[in-house]
């Protein structure tokens, strides 16, 4: 099967989810083998949010991402080779080894950057949205952020001005129930983050973040609203972080019993079964997809490890213009 490049097809939607899963599943092993340095955060369990949201965007729409950004980048069409190279701190990485996992950006696909500062994306996304309005470019900006980030003051500052200025902005909250060890229900006043939209005078939409098509539909609607000049939407996608926050996270803050029902709702097998049942995919095609994804990942590993280390002297480059 030829790799399609747009998420117009459900098969491509599935492929990207699988690619994210395969990519992030490598992290612990790469870390133990000393191939990646610094911290990186897996989006395992949250693939449907990233892919569903980006599938509703145009190629030149903007996204801002988070510390948990590999999924967003792949969903927007990022190059896994260059991503892997950046994780390994190599010359062919997206930041030529300067950033690592939490700094990947690809302006050519409208991906304005992962961000090691939680809450760092709000202002950037709002600024990009305002720029789209001023340039009359017909683009929207989508800001991914977590249930933890919604408590940063920057959320509130940006939500207010996006509300009064009716910016073409989609605020996409990945409510995976935790900010590191902080439980959303204990940390978010008012309980449900979606209620916060009301305070700023724009719609808040709750969506099942384990259902990729539901996410796509909600974001598509928000995008129509944004382009019509009706302003921002807060989309809260209920999902779950399947793994620890960082490698070695003992996860003493949650129980196996609590995790079990979420793990059963794994968005990837769910979507795959649905496509098989509805005739959008045959078993043979599904197997071929598996193989294709495995090949992409193997190639990415090979590419990254073959990529040279940056010269030490490059540390002094790009300091100013």
């Amino acid at each position: 099967m030829a790799a399609s490049t747009s998420t117009d097809t459900n098969v491509e939607v599935l492929r990207r989810m699988m690619l994210i899963r395969a990519f992030d599943s490598l992290l612990p092993d790469l870390y133990t083998r000393g191939l990646i340095r610094g911290s990186s955060h897996a989006a395992i369990g949250q693939e449907a949010v990233a892919v569903g949201a980006c599938a509703a965007l145009a190629a030149d729409d903007y996204i801002t991402s988070t510390h948990r950004g590999h999924g967003h980048t792949i969903a927007k069409g990022g190059d896994v080779n260059r991503m892997m190279a950046e994780l390994m701190g190599r010359e062919d990485g997206y930041c030529r080894g300067k950033g690592g996992s939490m700094h990947i950006a690809d302006f050519s696909i409208g991906m304005l950057g992962a961000n090691g500062i939680v809450g760092g994306g709000f202002g950037i996304a709002a600024g990009a949205a305002l720029s789209a309005r001023l340039r009359k470019s017909g683009q929207v900006a989508l800001c991914f952020f977590g249930d933890g980030a919604i408590n940063q003051s920057s959320f509130h500052g940006v939500a207010n001005l996006a509300g009064i200025w009716k910016l073409p902005l989609i605020l996409l909250c990945e409510d995976n129930r935790f900010a590191m060890s902080g439980r959303a229900e204990q940390m978010i006043a008012g309980g449900d983050p979606v209620k916060r939209a009301q305070a700023y005078g724009f719609p808040g939409v709750s969506v099942d973040g384990m259902d990729v098509l539901a996410v796509r539909a909600a974001v598509a609607e928000a995008r129509v609203r944004a382009l019509a000049g009706d302003g921002p939407t807060l989309v809260v996608a209920a999902c779950y972080r399947f793994q620890g926050h960082f490698s070695g996270d003992t996860q003493s803050y949650r129980s196996k019993e609590e995790m079990a029902p979420w793990l059963e709702r794994d968005p990837i097998p769910a979507f795959r079964s649905r496509l098989l049942a509805e005739g959008g995919l045959t078993e043979a095609e599904a197997d071929a997809l598996e193989e294709e994804v495995a090949t992409s990942i193997a190639e990415a590993l090979e590419f990254a490890q073959a990529s040279p280390w940056p010269e030490a002297a490059e540390a002094w480059e790009d300091v100013d213009g």
């Binding site: 300067k98 700094h103 500062i117 940056p310 540390a315």
Partner: protein, 478 residues
């Protein structure tokens, strides 16, 4: 005094626990400090010991954490806020700098904010641009704050205790690489270090090296290496970054006259600038001061080679220290008399010999190549003499001394004087401290010149000098 051994991280934890035990007003707040015990585990176990009212897990909101700490402090509590990484302090700066630092002053002393903001700073573990910063210069610029940065476990506990008891806001900086790498004795029982003085981490008299946090340990390692060359550096652990212990600094500089500051924060407008200024204003420096610091780049890269290249290290400290001790002192009369810091060392028993060479014209490259060849033939002419051993250098680094207008820059392993550019036919060079030989080439007349070699006779004897000059002559005339 009986002690127990702790890592710096454990010392922080013990300091918090002891003070919470002693003073019920002490409360901790921050992200993930309770059940998780903090991202670096500084508060591990404290939730179980002191309960959720005193070990408060906050939402992700650094700005609010600092603000709430201030409010608690103004109303009778003793808050210790944790910001997970110094890089996230920027969001909290609004309250720390804009509000807390000014409280005492703007209320004419009526109110104070006895709060501590602890954070983990520094690079060296592949954290990348947003998890590796040093922030001391930002906060040390702010009147009304105190800034502490311990380098040893005993100080981590003792100074943290002092910080908690301090009537004013304290920014408490913990270098994350010291957390587990640095262990040491901590006095049993109550331990408070509240004197505001720097700590002499290693006594010496050749120069003063000032550092804190992980860089202090790099400076100590450098001092070990320098001692092998007979250079005894005094290493000061500044530890109190604001206010600076000016007396302690000047006391040391009064003896050494030479200042080298090492910091992991970026160079420009860093604390090194302030320390150099203090020393310069006091007129205690015998030579221009030096700084080894993070280059002024927009962040610390994640890739190994780049991060390693950027972080200041012991080798740079050694190199800067060598240059500093061999640089000419202020107002010295050259050729200088004996005494510490002088350009020439009267203690070196010198010997000289002169030969004549055929030299159609003078090329620096030609002379350099000949010197290199001669040094290869006689390795002890590219060496440092100490009473323990003659240390041969792997690399040759030639200091060019072109007279008073362009004196040698120092830091080299061999000195070349004039190399034939001057007018005088014959002159004897002097061996500089830390080196064993110097060469002077006289003016070229009728295709000939005199070449004089001076050696430290303890390292290079007459036969060696003869071989040196013979090799040199052969190379120059070929």
């Amino acid at each position: 005094m009986s002690t127990h051994t702790l890592s710096l991280l454990e010392a922080v934890r013990e300091g918090l626990a002891d003070e919470m035990e002693r003073d019920p007003r002490v409360v901790l707040l921050g992200e993930d400090i309770g059940r998780l015990g903090g991202v670096f585990r500084a508060t591990d176990g404290l939730l179980d010991r002191f309960g959720a009212e005193r070990v408060i897990d906050t939402p992700m909101a650094e700005n609010a954490i600092a603000g709430i700490a201030m409010g608690l402090a103004m109303r009778g509590l003793r808050p210790v806020a944790e910001i997970q990484f110094a890089d996230f302090m920027h969001a909290a700066m609004d309250h720390i700098v804009g509000e807390a630092a000014k409280l005492r002053y703007r209320t004419a002393g009526d109110w104070t904010a006895p709060m501590v903001v602890r954070t983990a700073y520094g690079g060296g573990f592949r954290g990348g641009p947003y998890h590796s910063q040093s922030v001391e210069a930002f906060y040390s610029h702010v009147p009304g704050l105190k800034v502490m940065a311990p380098s040893f476990p005993d100080d981590a506990k003792g100074m943290l205790t002092a910080a908690i008891r301090d009537p004013d806001p304290v920014v408490f900086l913990e270098h994350k690489r010291t957390y587990r790498a640095i262990t040491g004795p901590v006095p049993d029982g109550e331990h408070v270090v509240a004197d505001g003085r720097l700590r002499v981490a290693r006594p010496g008299d050749a120069l003063t090296i000032v550092g804190w946090g992980m860089m202090l340990h790099e400076a100590l390692a450098a001092a070990d290496e320098l001692a092998g060359d007979g250079i005894e550096a005094e290493v000061l652990d500044l530890r109190w970054l604001l206010p600076i212990d000016r007396e302690g600094l000047l006391e040391s500089l009064g003896r050494t006259g030479r200042l080298l500051v090492v910091h992991e924060d970026t160079l420009t407008m860093g604390l090194g600038a302030e320390l150099c200024a203090l020393a310069a204003e006091a007129g205690v420096l015998q030579a221009p001061p030096a700084r080894v610091a993070m280059p002024d780049a927009g962040g610390i890269p994640v890739a190994d080679a780049m991060e390693d290249a950027m972080l200041p290290n012991r080798h740079q400290v050694v190199e800067a220290a060598r240059r500093l001790v061999s640089s000419p002192g202020n107002g010295e009369v050259r050729p200088g008399g004996p005494g510490r810091g002088s350009w020439f060392d009267a203690a070196i028993p010198e010997a000289s010999s002169v030969i004549e060479v055929r030299l159609p014209e003078v090329h620096l490259e030609l002379v350099m190549a000949a010197v290199a060849e001669a040094c290869r033939a006689v390795p002890q002419s590219n060496a440092t003499f100490t009473w323990e051993a003659i240390r041969l250098h792997d690399q040759l680094s030639v200091d060019l001394d072109l007279g008073p207008l362009s004196p040698a820059r120092g830091g080299g392993t061999f000195t070349l004087v004039d190399y034939g550019l001057g007018g005088s036919l014959l002159g004897l060079p002097a061996v500089r401290p830390g080196q064993t030989a110097a060469l002077r080439v006289g003016a070229v007349r009728d295709g000939r010149a005199y070449v004089a070699l001076a050696v430290d006779h303890r390292a290079v004897d007459g036969a060696d000098a003869g071989r040196f000059l013979a090799t040199l002559k052969r190379c120059l005339e070929e």
